[in-house]
Amino acid sequence: MSSVTLRMLPPTGRLARLGRAGGDVGSLRLIERHARVYRHAWLIFASGIFEPLFYLLSVGLGLGVLVGKVPGPGGQLIPYRDFVAPGLLAVSSMNGAMYDSTFNIFFRMKYAKLYDAILATPMRPAQVALGEIGWALLRGTIYAVAFILVMLALGLVHSAWAVLAVPSAVLIGFAFAAIGMTGTTFMKSWQDFDYVILASMPLFLFSATFYPLGVYPRAVQVIVECTPLYQGVVLLRDLTIGVVGPDLLWRAGYLAVLGLAGLYVAGRRLGKLLLV
């Protein structure tokens, strides 16, 4: 996969000339760097596809039989596996982006001293932030496409709108990558990562991923509706089931605003942290 990425990117020499011409390609160089590094770990990268496969298989074989049918978007009863698959896609987009933007960035910042090296070049902190998020999105896109293909193969996609599920999954990844990166700039030690898990686990479990929102009392429903993952889950579920309304636009807008705000803050904070 990474070799494909490499072929998409122009060679360094041309990049440099583009850079001198004034184009903002610094962040692309960071993506190229990661692609080169991951060439040695491509098997981990590729094995990511097994995760949705395992989850969907366990739902199809096990939980789906136990649960039967649940009310889906629009209120009609749908099989449980159709209900839960888009939720799992949203979760895996969130988790992938969160881990990439917290654990990996922290490691690069504190141990590998990657950014110290990068900032000794003409690259600026905002470009580093943009490059990291760009890389997270590139990975997220590949995983989302793989996930949708698995869903398609298992017969879990019911509408042509599902084409839009890929960019939507990437949008979820963008929002969480930006938030995660902002959080990382506040972290001091590995122990702080317990808080990352503490934030992502309830989102994963309670954002109407495994059961409809109607299970909760109204007060809890309002809280859940405010969380970004819930909006992402609804977005993907409506698209793969094929119940599409204009409300999806503001849900997507919410995620985009969150991502842009995170990107802005993370870029500024990185600058303060690294350019001392």
């Binding site: 770990a41 990511g48 298989l57 074989l61 649960v67 030690s189 898990i197 503490l198 309830p202």
Partner: protein, 283 residues
């Protein structure tokens, strides 16, 4: 004493030279010293880990037992043996969270003690032998497993998910399940060259075990060949043992098989660990 100075006999009272024989030290007291080192570290960082140890199982029990449980119970629980989904899934959460924390404690911290913060390398400069370093760390992991399993057991009882007083034995059963993973995994983790190996363990070990070991749905729903595979996995033995104790539905020979299998894995790990640590730490 076989060591003599070239000029004559060693003067009385001088300690044996390097290369001479140290009096053999009993294995556990020295391991306890290594354990104390981990306690000192833990005293500084327990605050952050306490949140995930307490809230993690609480969230899981809430989401799976109550949220998903409300759907399952409405659909009928005959395949679960007639018990509520909460009662079915809670002991499985106990066992699988023991596996998860065992895998967490026995991978990155072990690898990091060689490669990143070099705690093992420091300990190696003391009279501790590699086996002591391993056993001390394992004692610390056991302590963490005991703490985490206690929290989950208390929640189970508090939520009314335990149907029998035998659930107090599900607590040590979960610790044993964790140890059956922690001991061999730590023995392996000290030998790996790159932390990337752990990604495979989590993806191809932890995740499928968590999903297909009779945790969230009964094994009877799996196709035959997959069921046979599940019977071999340690997590299934842990889940089945904890579930039998929590539901009060105990089949003694089966329970003994579970305990024996898990103990054998832990013992094999302890035997192996002393050897892999020696190979890795004596350069």
């Amino acid at each position: 004493m076989a060591v003599f100075a070239p000029g004559g006999a060693t003067p009385p009272g001088t300690p044996p030279r390097l290369g001479g024989l140290h009096p053999p030290k009993p294995p556990w007291p020295l391991a306890f010293r290594a354990f104390q080192c981990w306690l000192t570290v833990y005293r500084r960082i327990w605050r952050s880990s306490i949140w995930s140890s307490v809230l993690g199982p609480l969230f899981y029990l809430g989401a799976m037992g109550f949220g998903l449980g409300s759907l399952v119970d409405r659909h009928g629980t005959a395949s679960l043996g007639g018990v509520s989904y909460l009662a079915f899934v809670a002991p499985a959460i106990l066992a699988s969270s023991a596996m998860n924390s065992a895998m967490g404690e026995a991978t990155y911290p072990v690898f990091g003690s060689v490669k990143w913060n070099k705690i093992y390398i420091g300990a190696q400069a003391s009279p501790l032998r590699p086996g002591d370093i391993y056993r001390g760390h394992l004692m610390f992991m056991t302590m963490r497993l005991t703490m985490n399993a206690a929290v989950v057991t208390v929640f189970m009882v508090g939520f009314g998910a335990a149907e029998s007083a035998w659930v107090v034995l599900a607590w040590p059963a979960a610790v044993l399940t964790g140890l059956a993973f922690a001991a061999p995994i730590a023995a392996w983790a000290v030998t790996v060259k790159s932390e990337n190996s752990f990604a495979y363990l989590f993806r191809f070990g932890m995740m499928p075990l968590m999903l297909f070991s009779g945790t969230f749905f009964p094994l009877s729903q799996l196709p035959g060949w997959l069921r046979l595979l599940a019977y071999v996995t340690p997590l299934w033995h842990g889940v089945d043992l904890c579930r039998a104790l929590s539901l009060g539905d105990i089949d003694l020979p089966m329970a003994l098989i579970h305990v024996g299998y898990l103990s054998a894995l832990a013992a094999a790990g302890i035997w192996l660990g002393a050897r892999t640590y020696r190979r890795r730490l004596y350069v």
